[in-house]
């Protein structure tokens, strides 16, 4: 199992944002995490990636305990994420954004950077080539020298995904990758995700677009009020009464 959450909990003062959550994400699958607003989905992402510490339980990645590690260390082990409000290095060009993200794979030392050795230049050249190749696959190659902050929303989303991939992560965590996209763009994102799965990557995503979730995910976990209320294939989830109740509410008896 690449990712395993064991009884993970997070309390904010009196609020139990996530309670006793156990789930596993199987390798080379697309795993959806859904639930009504405030269900704790983004908190779960923050707990997995070490952005906020958990108050109980533990997270394991490829058998190694990652809860308690700093975000950078977790990224080094192969987990990278996007944020709900798309975050980029806004002053940098598209290619520079990817180069920062790729620094783990090709970070030269301070000394070799100062000496400007041929080996350093070769590494820089290769990093640029890899970055451009990655942009090509996400249809961003033509925008390589555009400043990220000036890109339209869909290209910013695509760039955020490119950066996550540039880290060399095996597990990619995406917070609402479809939000604000047009139907055509959603279809493109879906096919990108499917391609990543074919390449052996594992995807964990939060998404509000139910049609997209049900279309692309292999497994779906449903959260409500910080609790896991269901898990299964999209077909099972759609037929699950607890899920329907969480989303639509239950009829008051006698009302």
């Amino acid at each position: 199992m690449p990712l395993e959450l064991r009884s993970v909990g997070r309390r904010f003062g009196g609020l139990q944002a996530v309670a006793d959550l156990s789930m596993t994400v199987a390798p080379s699958t697309i795993h959806g995490l859904i639930g009504p607003n405030g269900a704790g989905k983004s908190t779960v992402f923050n707990l997995i990636t070490g952005v906020i510490p958990l108050t109980s339980g533990a997270v394991f990645f490829k058998g190694e305990r990652i809860s308690g590690l700093r975000p950078a260390e977790i990224c080094r082990l192969g987990i990278a994420r996007t944020f709900q409000a798309t975050t980029l290095f806004r002053e940098y060009t598209v290619l520079q954004n990817v180069l920062v993200a790729a620094h783990l794979l090709s970070a030269p030392g301070l000394g070799s950077a100062l000496l400007w050795s041929s080996r350093y230049r070769e590494r820089e050249r290769r990093a640029r080539e890899r970055g451009l190749a990655l942009l090509q696959t996400l249809h961003l190659a033509g925008l390589a020298d555009q400043v990220a902050g000036t890109l339209p929303h869909r290209d910013q989303k695509a760039l955020a995904l490119a950066m996550v991939l540039a880290t060399g992560a095996e597990l990619v965590i995406l917070d609402e990758p479809m939000a604000g996209l047009a139907a055509q763009e959603k279809a493109e994102t879906t096919s990108v995700l499917q391609r990543l799965r074919e390449q052996g990557l594992t995807v964990l995503l939060v998404e509000h677009d139910m049609k997209a979730v049900m279309g692309v995910c292999d497994t779906v976990t449903v959260l409500d009020h910080g609790l896991r209320i269901a898990e299964g294939t999209p077909r099972e989830i759609q037929a699950n009464p607890a899920v329907i109740e969480a989303y639509l509410g239950v009829e008051e008896p006698g009302a």
Binding site: V51, Y92, L99
Partner: protein
């Protein structure tokens, strides 16, 4: 400190620009003594070069998003270390200079390591508090320390020494800025959480910038000790520190050349305004406010901004 930079002004990371900039700086430094041997001008120019080492190294730290108010203290540590080594231990200035710089860098590890655990206003306050502690230490233990016998007797010799120190420093800092280190450092300023989740050890980058910056400040301090002869703790207090910040911010923190523009222009302006006496700082304050209002990215970002405004103007014309 959150310097915002023009959105469509990507930092020039092509190799041509930094080499051209360095060549221009070197040409100016070499040309000056050919133009004048007047000791007043040489004196001002030497001060500018020393301040350039300080502001350029301060900019390195600011590029990671942190304004270090204790930068001047590391200059002081370099100055007092060098002066003590020459007068009390009896070694030569040439041996004292690198040792003083290394002492400043070594002290930067624990101090930077402690201060960089917090960010924003807390960092500003912690470093300011630290700088006051250091200043009081100097004041209480070494009243008017003598900087050592004059190794250099003429203004031209002093100028040449500082020019050589600065050109090496500038080459290193410009090289750093245009390397992957500079790329990641400025990325941290734009989004430290994003950088951290992309695997960047943000703390280590900030600490590296802090230590390298302090090393340079230590070199400037050693030079100061031997050019000024007498050290006083107020040389390393709040007032000179604020001047460094003013130079750096007015020039612009988005580029490695910002502090160069700010330091040269503001020092010359300061000399021209000398007759105004205490109104001088008032003028500086007004210039700083105007810069922050109209050119928050500093003077070096202005030409690009004006050019863009013109372009936009044309495209919007009916």
């Amino acid at each position: 400190m959150e310097p915002s930079r023009g959105l469509s002004a990507p930092p020039g990371r092509a190799l041509g620009a930094p080499i051209a900039g360095l060549a221009l700086l070197a040409a100016g430094v070499v040309a000056l003594p050919q133009l004048t041997r007047d000791s007043y001008y040489l004196d001002v120019a030497t001060t500018i070069l020393m301040n350039l080492a300080l502001t350029m190294s301060l900019r390195l730290q600011v590029s990671t998003g942190q304004l270090n108010m204790a930068h001047i203290s590391f200059m002081g540590i370099g100055a007092y270390a060098s002066a003590l080594l020459v007068t009390r231990v009896g070694i030569s200035f040439w041996a004292a200079l690198p040792i003083a710089a290394v002492v400043a860098a070594l002290l930067a590890f624990p101090i930077g390591g402690l201060a960089l655990r917090v960010t924003g206003p807390y960092y500003f306050l912690i470093t300011f508090a630290f700088s006051e502690v250091v200043r009081l230490f100097f004041n209480n233990f070494f009243v008017d320390l003598f900087g050592g016998p004059l190794t250099f007797t003429t203004k031209l010799e002093l100028y040449t020494l500082m020019a050589a120190l600065l050109l090496v420093t500038a080459a290193v800092l410009v090289r750093l800025e245009h390397s992957r280190f500079g790329l990641v450092a400025s990325a941290i300023r734009q989004g430290d959480l994003l950088a951290e989740t992309l695997g960047v050890n943000v703390f280590r980058y900030k600490l590296t910038a802090y230590v390298v910056g302090s090393l340079v400040a230590g070199v400037a301090g050693a030079f100061f000790a031997h050019s000024h002869q007498v050290l006083h703790s107020s040389d390393f207090g709040l007032e000179p520190m604020v001047l460094l910040v003013v130079f750096t911010v007015i020039g612009g923190t988005g580029s490695v050349w910002g502090p160069v523009a700010g330091t040269v222009l503001m020092t010359i302006a300061g000399e021209l305004l000398r007759e105004l006496h205490h109104y001088e700082s008032l003028v500086f304050g007004v210039v700083l406010i105007l810069t922050m209002l109209w050119a928050p990215d500093g003077l070096v970002a202005l030409p690009g901004k004006l050019a863009r405004r013109r372009r936009v103007g044309v495209s919007l014309a009916p």
